[in-house]
Amino acid sequence: MLLYALQRTGLAILICITSMVMLFSALKLIPGDPATIMLGARASAEMKARITEELGLNDPIPVQLATFFGRILQGNLGTDMWSQRPVTQIVLDNLPYTLVLIAAGLGWAALIGIPLGCYSAIRRNSFIDKFTAVISVGTISIPSFVVAIYLILFFAIELGWLPVIGAGERGDYLDQAVHLIMPAFALGLGWVGYLSRIVRASMLEVMGENHIRTARAFGLPEYRIVKSYALRIAILPTITLLAVAIGGLLSSAVFVEAIFARPGIGKLIVDAANMRNFPVVQGGVLTTVALFALAMPISDILIAWLDPRVRATL
């Protein structure tokens, strides 16, 4: 089990390194002089020289890459080229907002989606099952930013019930929670459909297995069969899906954070890219890649820990 965990973590580190080499190369392949791109039109020669010097753009690319990784190993993601703040600090300031948003979005999606999937499986071909199927496909196909805009138009502009912008007052958790309602709803809505479909399919498969038939033969109540025998196995594919969802939600979070003007890692990367603030882009992307790369081995390890059949194969 330990060796398995180490293998999966090593793979995650390799993914991070590969991604960063690709990102670093992509930034260097952008046509034009990086300092001119960052500073825009009519930048003075002095300003360009200063930026070039500060970012080490005159060094050969392998040297720049080595410097970049050397700094990362020391926990230093570089310095924001404008505000001169450490990128590590900027990322750490923004990361919690995104994690909370993803947790809230995924959390409510799981709370609704998993029971809905179970119910649909148990009451297969019922009206509720068919209705859920239609709603699921509908919610999956609506992009989160469209949901966000309609939520704002209805709940903020029309009804005036919920706040539109920001993440709420610091230290005021109630205010922060109120500010989280619409963004989390917009982010999680599509995942309600995904989760309910996956759980339904998985449950249908498990409910047909011998141990469920045996449990029924012993006269166990249906709710107990579902909760204690079927769902425990049917939930396993959902754990993998949730890990994959982290990647998808990180991308969707960019739009949601932009529309609701919430701080967060996605918005940080987009804003930095707009400003051509490459050190912040690199630091932000590395963090998101690391999050995603770590979520996968964690889900694999969790499944191995929960499922003795998987554990037996290690």
Binding site: I30, D93, G160, L162, P163, A261, D271
Partner: protein
């Protein structure tokens, strides 16, 4: 920075407010966006550098105006920007073309332990600009002589008419406390002001969320209308418009298409205010390119492009056509052109030049409104028999197109869409078209001896009427080259509550210290 944490009191307060909202049926937006002493202004980008020597612009400018002293301020005199002494000085006068004397008011105190604002601070602040990223704002500044604690003389190497509007009265004229700045690494600062002295004090910066300014209780100048100002960071303009309609910000810039929509009907209790912006947009033609060498071809293109259609399609009809580069409210602003949309005349000029089957490449930054404008140009020129291929480019390759130092693209460059930004002095906008800018920013690649001569005269001319005539003539020369199709001085539109009367600086940024209640 604010510490994170929840006190018992904050929790109880929140619960009480939530209960009141629920029981009384009050809409949260009414609680969250209080009027009276609080003004909420959307800021497009988070602050990065408040140091006047290394700033980026935008809301940083607004904060500098509100929290840092300066010797003079820009004021509108009639339709044109001029300068006036600020609240911080007893007097400031231009004694002769190269000497400006000033005396600060006594008792103006910096926050922290930097003491009183003195002439030494003025000397330090202005002279450090000469070594900064914004040195171009003071092209002829030599030094500042301190005559006593509060008085001094600013000495110029040669006369420069825009010393006030581009330098002393602009954001680049913000004063900083010498004692505090000298203690900083590299003697620079970014997001934390080393000392403040102004109508407002910056009390909070929550990165990527907001900047809070509170009225300075020790301020003895013109009183401010709002006790607290919050700059709310909303990068996306559409999101800012939604936040405005939900009542969460009091003032926001809006997109041209939204301004057009608001023009037909504003949300209740709100108003739209248009402000001349600092931008000038034109279509450039390379006078050295084989296909465009003949001035009759260039003049045909000037007359074949329907600027009004471009403004309707790309700017929602809210922008006015330009007749030069100098923006409205600035000396030298031009109100008529010598050419107008006339496809028949364009066809005649092309026939006279013996040109048929002409095809051109039109390069533009890859932004939706610019591509829309390019499509209108494509249709207009097709109407007179010129085929246009639109080539949208990212900013990297685009900004290198005309630079000789960046390759050979300038040799094949034919026609492009361009927008520059200028300070409220014509010299700032016109300097890029001089002979020494050919191959740098004069992508049209022409020069003219009269233009060069007028340039030198314009810098030192102090008579407003004569200066006006100089810059009008310079733009006429530019137009006569046939290398420019004037498009617009892109207007800025702000939506705001009817209860707020926003004040603006010369570049169209909101100045909260002169923003009033209706």
């Amino acid at each position: 920075m604010i510490r994170n944490g929840l006190s018992r009191r904050a929790l109880l307060k929140s619960a009480a407010v939530a209960s009141a909202v629920g029981l009384l049926g009050i809409k949260p937006q009414q609680v969250l966006s209080a009027e009276g002493g609080l003004l909420k202004v959307r800021m497009e980008a988070d602050i990065q550098v408040l140091d006047p020597g290394y700033m980026i612009g935008g809301s940083e400018t607004s904060i500098q105006y509100a929290c840092l002293p300066r010797l003079a301020v820009p004021v509108k005199k009639g339709d044109t920007w001029d300068w006036a002494p600020s609240d911080y000085v007893e007097k400031i006068t231009q004694d002769d073309p190269t000497h400006i004397s000033f005396t600060l008011k006594p008792g103006l105190m910096w926050s922290g332990d930097s003491g009183e604002v003195t002439a030494e601070d003025v000397k330090f602040s202005l002279e450090r600009m000469l070594k900064s990223d914004w040195a171009a704002r003071y092209p002829t500044l030599e030094r500042v002589d301190v005559t006593d604690k509060l008085s001094g003389v600013i000495i110029l190497k040669s006369p420069f008419a825009a010393t006030f509007l581009m330098g002393i009265a602009s954001e680049s004229g913000s004063l900083v406390p010498k004692v505090a700045v000298e203690k900083l690494p590299d003697q620079k600062f970014t997001t934390e002001l080393p000392g403040q002295c102004g109508p407002y004090s910056m009390t909070e910066w929550t990165p990527k969320q907001r900047v809070v300014l509170k009225a300075n209780p020790d301020w003895r100048g013109t009183p401010v209308a709002f006790q607290e100002v919050q700059f709310i960071n909303i990068e996306d303009t559409k999101a800012a418009e939604l936040a405005f309609e939900a009542g969460e910000v009091d003032v926001t810039g809006v997109l041209p298409e939204t301004a057009a929509r608001y023009g037909k009907g504003m949300p209740a209790g709100t108003k739209l205010t248009g402000v001349p912006g600092p931008y000038y947009t034109w279509i450039g033609l390379n006078t050295e390119h084989e296909k465009l060498k003949d001035i009759r071809v260039r003049k045909a293109i000037q007359r074949a492009i329907d600027v009004k259609s471009i403004l309707d399609a790309a700017y929602g009809g809210v922008a006015q056509p330009a007749h030069g580069i100098v923006t409205e409210g600035v000396t030298g602003h031009r109100t008529t052109s010598k050419y107008s949309y006339n496809p028949d005349q364009a066809r005649a000029l092309l026939a006279e030049a013996g040109v048929s089957d002409l095809s051109l490449e039109f390069k533009t930054l890859n932004e939706a409104y610019r591509v829309t404008a390019a499509q209108v140009v494509q249709a207009n020129l097709a109407d007179v028999g010129i085929k246009v291929d639109i080539i949208p480019l990212d900013s990297g390759p685009f900004w290198n197109l005309g630079l000789e130092s960046k390759g050979d693209e300038w040799k094949t460059l034919q026609m492009w869409w361009m927008r520059y930004r200028m300070s409220p002095d014509p010299s700032d906008g016109i300097q890029w078209f001089l002979k020494n800018q050919v191959g740098v920013w004069n992508w049209e690649r022409w020069s003219d001896p009269e233009f060069e001569e007028l340039w030198t005269k314009g810098l030192s001319e102090t008579d407003p009427a004569k200066r006006n005539a100089i810059y009008l003539r310079m733009q006429e020369i530019m137009e006569d080259t046939g290398a420019y199709v004037w498009i617009t001085n892109d207007p800025l539109s702000y939506a705001h509550k009817e209860s707020v009367v926003p004040g603006f600086d010369t570049g169209g940024e909101i100045l909260v210290e002169i923003t009033k209640k209706a």
